[in-house]
Symmetry: C2
Subunit: 342 residues, 2 copies
Amino acid sequence: MRVKPGERRRRPTIHDVARVAGVSRGTVSRVLNGGHYVSPAAAEAVNAAIRKTGYVVNRHARSLITGRTGSAAFLLTEPQEKFFEDPNFNVLLRGCTEALAAHDIPLLLMLAGTVEEQRRIVRYVGSGHVDGVLLISSRAGSPVAEQLVKAGVPVVICGTPQLTGIRLAHVAADDRDGARTMVRHLLSVGRRRVGIVTGPLDTPGGVERLAGYREVLAEAGLRYEPELVATGDYSRDSGARAAAELLARRPDLDALFVASDLMAQGALAALADAGRRVPDDVAVGGFDDSAAAVAARPALTTVRQPWDRISAEMVRLLLAQIEGQDTSAVILPTELVRRESA
Amino acid sequence: MRVKPGERRRRPTIHDVARVAGVSRGTVSRVLNGGHYVSPAAAEAVNAAIRKTGYVVNRHARSLITGRTGSAAFLLTEPQEKFFEDPNFNVLLRGCTEALAAHDIPLLLMLAGTVEEQRRIVRYVGSGHVDGVLLISSRAGSPVAEQLVKAGVPVVICGTPQLTGIRLAHVAADDRDGARTMVRHLLSVGRRRVGIVTGPLDTPGGVERLAGYREVLAEAGLRYEPELVATGDYSRDSGARAAAELLARRPDLDALFVASDLMAQGALAALADAGRRVPDDVAVGGFDDSAAAVAARPALTTVRQPWDRISAEMVRLLLAQIEGQDTSAVILPTELVRRESA
DNA sequence: TTCTCTACTGTGAACGCTCACAGCCGAGCC
DNA sequence: GGCTCGGCTGTGAGCGTTCACAGTAGAGAA
């Protein structure tokens, strides 16, 4: 609508501003970049000229010389739906957006759910369109990370990356310790037949939480029984299915550690269907402390992942990398949140 | 991680490729842009040199001269949560992503829920970082659209924009006609006391669907009763509240037209709570034909919004605008989808 | 042979900005 | 007065591309 080909008139450049303000390009540029070494009179004239001409910097020209774009990407390498319905995701995205906003850096959400989209995005990002990438993926070691790092793009991963040849900066909660804390809690309230619904076992989070569970059983002198283990995919439905399965295998179950709040919601439903009271008959512990934990009935006792700190650390590491610093991984502690379910 | 300041070696440029391939910059550039007027031998040498050097174009340099970036934005001007839980949103996003992918254009999702973020994003987009913007907002006439258009950025809006001074390209379903179709259907199955749960009345969609409802009542010789009208905000809960309210006011209600499937889900729950059978006691019609319609019990009879065509048209208009063409608005027809609820 | 035409190639000039440098001016010090 | 020094300013170069243009060589027609 509007704007015909020819009509699209040339946007004012720094030259135009300089001419209108009666100063040189250099002075305009200095005003644009902090205003140091500029006399008040000149600064005033430049600002007036900018308003008058409607000047906006051409970021391409600027980026060409500075090598910076002033933006960052939040890259999802799995199908969007999976994330959008995940309560943790929204918290993380908001946290990262705000942390970057403090540096006046816009965050661009990019979706690369298919291999073809991944190629497109890697090419796009690799050719310099953002200063860095926050990579989100439950299978955190996806080849995308490697490709980006090889292309020289600063990358920080959320979660623990799968083992790869190169070291990858990442920020994660201490999954194993969180699981230990929860299982210890379940034992401390007198439970002995503790089942677990794990996340996918091809993800670090899935593996680590199971490992924590096993460690605590061992330390309490309890036997590890594969019969008490079922696996879900972090969705509510899978939690319900897994819980029903455990209940069928071991009707005498008296506690359940579910590796995500969303799955725990499903598990609560399955327990209710089976006529079990929570926490009286079966104590249930979740993981995440997401909105789902509070919404659940009964409200979930869970392990809090410090999403605010995770997003803050991710942004901190990314900015440091952009500055050319060497960054390392950050593992953050979790915290037990007691509610009604255990 | 890795990449120390000095270590960040200069990326190969088109010069390097030219030197390695033993040709000129011009020839390399031609290979990069379609390969016309390049001899097979030269093309081969250039491609080999690109592989050898690991060359990737610098998009800033390219954009500086072409004025294009090869990317587009999907801009949300309302809080993310609102969209992420909306089943329509995912369909629309996916459709736009795919339509643009056919042109090898990556789509960047930008969130501008707060006024401050809107400023940041408008500045970012206005300074040339994307070729065009697909603007999504229920209150489609938000100032963001005007600002972008004034900054010379191609914009296509999803939905009907509020009245503003400037004409805005947009794509929308024919809300009023869809509403008419649904209400006619409810009357055709013998209902006479038809209530309506509208969307917010400060949005075009909310207003238009109500208008369609009134038109059909008039055409059927029925009186319009404000008592039969309640307003929601497109959320499930608001649908339940509105339906309960209508039921309290008019217990003899025999049909309900709910302006979104999600609200209709809520309405179904409220009707069930009130002991009404659907469709026997009360026929219920939704709007959208989203995933919620199929998931509802009973499955919703609804009005299908052609999201696939909407996204395709949005992209078509945007690309046309980017080419400098004048584009107009597109209104697409809806379709009645009969299921169990009416 | 000469001329034209086509396919291809190289070169200089942008694009709009930042950066380094050099220069200017006036104040303060010797 | 001469010197230094700091604040401020203008200028030229260059970032890595694309684009327009000029130019070359070889094939085919006249």
